[in-house]
Amino acid sequence: DTKIKFTLGWKTQGSDAAFMLAKDKGYFKEEGLDVQIDQGEGSGATVTRIMSGAWDAGFGDVNAIIQNAAQRPDAAPVMVYQMWNRPPFAVVTKAEAGVKSPKDLEGKTLGGAQGTPTTRLISVFAKTNGVDMEKVKLSNMAPNLQEPMLIRGDIDGAMVFTLTSYFNLVLNRQDPDKDYRWLNFGDYGLDLYSNGMMVSRKLLKENPKAVAGLVKAVNRAAIEIGKDQEAGMKAIEAYDNLVNLAVEKRRLQFAYEKLMVSPEAAEIGLGDIKDDRMKKAIDIVVQGYGLPRAPEPSEIFSREFLPARAERELVYTAN
């Protein structure tokens, strides 16, 4: 079997179920792959981890690929399966702060973890929506401090990943729907792609068959979980018995509902992208990160390994 070192985007989360299921049910094995799944340090760090050569593939943020591809086109990994069709980037504020539109952020203090896409893109978000960044105060903090500081009122808003922050608020005994307002970047002109499965250029060049196998197995698992989340949760539990299964199941469903199921996915199938949308997304990132050049979508994404369209038909039923 080909050994593959695979890194997740973060610690075990329900939304990673597809990878666990593919491993658990032997889909990787069927493709002649021996995949070792490691927990990650952040979906941006997945890119550096793969670039450093210590991992072959991983689940991470496409925007980080864009950033690196602009500077080191030969080293940056390539996205081969765009799992999340929509961006999870958002600014969350307390309902009582009365932030109804981006413009209301002026005069507020926002907390964010350095280097996360949300934090990096906040200026583009502001510019797109006519917010004067001079009037917004930014404060750095570790990701797991954002929600507590928001709850305590040390900051007025947090620049977050919806998928993570929503459940952090739940875990902090808050009601994220009733008491909080979410400004999703996707709803305010930042129509970006986000996490998916990426592989190293080395693996791509030396063992394309393995890449194809990887994509096939993960796709099969992701489609399956769309119909049966319980199966995914079993795989999660087998991988890491420390997680809060109830919360992780909700997170898994959140990922499907808010990030994966979309008109675009229904049109082109799970895992694929539209090149013109990607081109726009690249421009946003280039602008937001102040990159020296705009890479082509083909440098970022390869659809070469995607299974046939029919196999990528996502049917999601919550259960």
Binding site: K5, W10, K11, Q39, S52, A54, N172, L242
Partner: protein
């Protein structure tokens, strides 16, 4: 000192330690501190006992990793310390380099280890090693450098080699401070292991704590901290027993010869 006094002293100490936890519990209750910020010890112990079966393999993993790193750190620490303590050039060269290296947050070094050795146990062992050897170096070197020349002269007059002197005078003389350094080192060894486990490992107490903390399972985070503290104290107790035997001469305990 009579046996009775010794027992009473130990009881006092136990009472004070228990008192510390009771105070913590009481303060949390009185100030109504959220368990998301600082859980009460009773919650932490409850979590710890409830989750112990799941935690157990992680604890063993962390303990094993730490012990390997620690033993390696001690060996290397003593070797470098002896070198620095004996050679002036080594002192002038190695000290600045080691100080510089030690001032660097090890979290920046872990990725390099991961790259070279893959994720998992090896980088954790190495992190634990590099984080824990410095206190040993410093104390061994200082102990050797401050050894009374009179004691060394006893051996020199016999035509002893440098190694003889190191072995028969330097090292015994250094023992009390070596053990002092061990106490510091073992705690840092745990910190190193946990650090590496949070960065790049799927097992170990560090990993548990990281995932618990990203799930805001604060009592579990603290259960992990208590486990680490407990492991640290357990090893400290083990060293103390050895220390009593080996360095009793230095504090001239009356019961030393009899022990």
């Amino acid at each position: 000192m009579t046996d009775f006094a010794a027992v009473r002293r130990k009881l006092w100490a136990v009472a004070l330690i228990v008192g510390f936890f009771l105070l913590w519990e009481a303060l949390c209750l009185a100030l109504d501190v959220s368990d998301l910020v600082l859980p009460r010890p009773s919650q932490v112990f409850a979590t710890l006992f409830a989750r112990l079966p799941i935690l157990w393999p992680h604890i063993l993993q962390t303990l094993m990793t730490t012990m390997i790193g620690f033993v390696g750190g001690v060996v290397i620490g003593v070797a470098i310390g002896a070198l620095i303590g004996v050679s002036k050039v080594a002192y002038d060269t190695a000290y600045p380099l080691l100080i510089g290296f030690s001032s660097i947050p090890k979290v920046a070094v872990v990725p390099i280890f991961v790259l070279w050795f893959g994720s998992g146990t090896v980088p954790a062992v190495l992190t634990s090693l590099v984080i824990c050897f410095f206190p040993i170096v410093v104390n061994v070197a200082t102990g050797l450098a401050t050894t009374e020349p009179e004691l060394e002269d006893v051996l020199k007059a016999l035509g002893a080699s440098k190694a003889d002197i190191l072995w028969n005078v330097g090292l015994p003389r250094v023992m009390p401070f070596f053990f002092a350094a061990l106490k510091v080192s073992i705690t840092y060894a745990f910190v190193g292991t946990v650090l590496a486990e949070t960065v790049a490992s799927n097992r170990g107490v560090g990993n548990v704590m990281m995932s618990a903390s990203s799930n805001f399972d604060v009592p579990l985070v603290f259960a992990g901290l208590f486990v680490l503290a407990g492991l640290g104290v357990a090893l400290y107790v083990a060293f103390s027993l050895i220390e009593r035997r080996v360095t009793g001469w230095a504090s001239r305990r009356d019961d030393f010869a009899a022990a």
